[in-house]
């Protein structure tokens, strides 16, 4: 399974990549923001996107809306992993079509459970 990890902090990308490796997912690519991720998604096929929200120049929510608005990508599993933990954020992400929502900081078990729930 090919996974795209999107976060503007290299540290967080490395943490997620490490956890994914521990879970057993080896085919992982990275992007530093929503715009960079969108370019990659339009060129390569990914089975799952794990994205931060608060990034420049394109946020994770904007990326999610772009993905859901594209007929070719609209069914792609998309997990939001973010420090934005207010009710309004969770509702906005759900309405935009997020498959799951993980609040930072999170555990390996949470990441594993959410991935399992969206990709089976």
């Amino acid at each position: 399974m090919k996974i795209l990890v999107v976060d503007d902090y290299p540290t967080m990308r490395r943490i997620v990549r490490n956890l994914l490796d521990q879970i057993g997912f080896k085919d992982v690519e990275e992007a530093g923001n929503g715009a960079e991720a969108l370019e990659k998604i339009k060129v390569s096929r990914y089975d799952l996107v794990i994205s931060d929200w608060n990034m420049e120049p394109m946020t994770g929510l904007e990326l999610l809306k772009e993905v859901r608005g594209d007929a070719n990508l609209s069914r792609m599993p998309f997990i939001m992993v973010t420090a934005e933990s207010k009710t309004e954020n969770v509702i906005a992400a759900k309405q935009a079509g997020a498959s799951q929502y993980i609040v930072k900081p999170f555990t390996a078990e949470t990441l594993k459970a959410k991935i399992a729930s969206v990709v089976g």
Binding site: D8, Y9, P10, T11, R14, I15, N18, Q22, W53, N54, M55, E56, T59, L61, E62, A83, E84, S85, K86, T87, E88, N89, V90, I91, A92, K94, Q100, Y101, I102, V103, K104, F106, T110
Partner: protein, 223 residues
């Protein structure tokens, strides 16, 4: 170190404050000059025929209002001058915090991955030298402990920034009170124009007291 988009420096703040302070000083000087003129006119009011009761009273009222305006401008200028943080200091300190935390996190990750690799070799029975791999895990653990010393440095730096921000906060409150700005008007003035559709949702990390949800509450909402 490159500025991170999540920690914005405000390069225009100081120049803006300096400009406001300069304008307040210029207006204050102008009012002082006019006060001098009006004072002379008041002194000689009876000599040139404008010393009639109505005109004289209006002149006195104008003089009083200009004095009050001058005092207000002088106080405003003092508050604005006090509001200016030391040049570049806050941004530099926060940049250093980002650098410290990023450096420590990368070091901790590097050492953890080193330990994981050694442990994986030991688990799989592929270790060429079990004693060396056990030492590798031990050394990595020690390095992780040492890397956590960043918290002492960042804690001191953040406390320093907090202290300055509290001083600025008190000054802003004094300035708002001085200018008689109400809560609604102040909110309108200070609210930045949203730069993106989800700008109102970019709150950053929130504590429970600030309305932040834990994972189980998020799961309940996500249903």
């Amino acid at each position: 170190m490159a500025e991170h988009p999540k920690v914005r420096a405000t390069p225009t703040l100081q120049s803006g404050l300096a400009r406001i302070a300069g304008q307040a000083a210029a207006i204050s000087s102008e009012v002082e000059r006019l006060l001098g003129l009006d004072g002379r006119r008041l002194d000689g009011a009876g000599e040139d025929g404008i010393g009639e009761d109505g005109a004289d009273e209006r002149l006195r009222q104008a003089f009083g209002e200009m004095q009050a305006m001058s005092k207000l401008l002088a106080e405003t200028r003092a508050e604005v001058v006090g509001l200016s943080p030391p040049s570049g200091e806050l941004g530099d300190t926060l940049d250093a915090v980002i650098g410290d935390t990023e450096g420590a996190a990368l070091e901790i990750l590097r050492q953890a991955e080193r330990a994981q690799a050694a442990a994986a070799r030991l688990h799989a029975g592929t270790s060429a030298d079990t004693t060396a791999d056990l030492a590798e895990v031990d050394e990595a653990a020690t390095a992780i402990v040492l890397a956590c010393a960043f918290q002492d440095l960042t804690g001191q730096r953040v406390r320093k920034v907090l202290s300055t921000l509290r001083q600025v906060e008190a000054r802003v409150a004094a300035l708002v009170a001085l200018l008689g700005i109400g809560p609604e008007e102040g909110g309108t003035l200070l609210r930045a124009a949203p730069s993106r559709p989800d700008a109102h949702l970019l709150n950053g990390p929130s504590t429970a007291a600030q309305g932040g949800l834990g994972q189980s509450a998020v799961d309940d909402l996500f249903g």
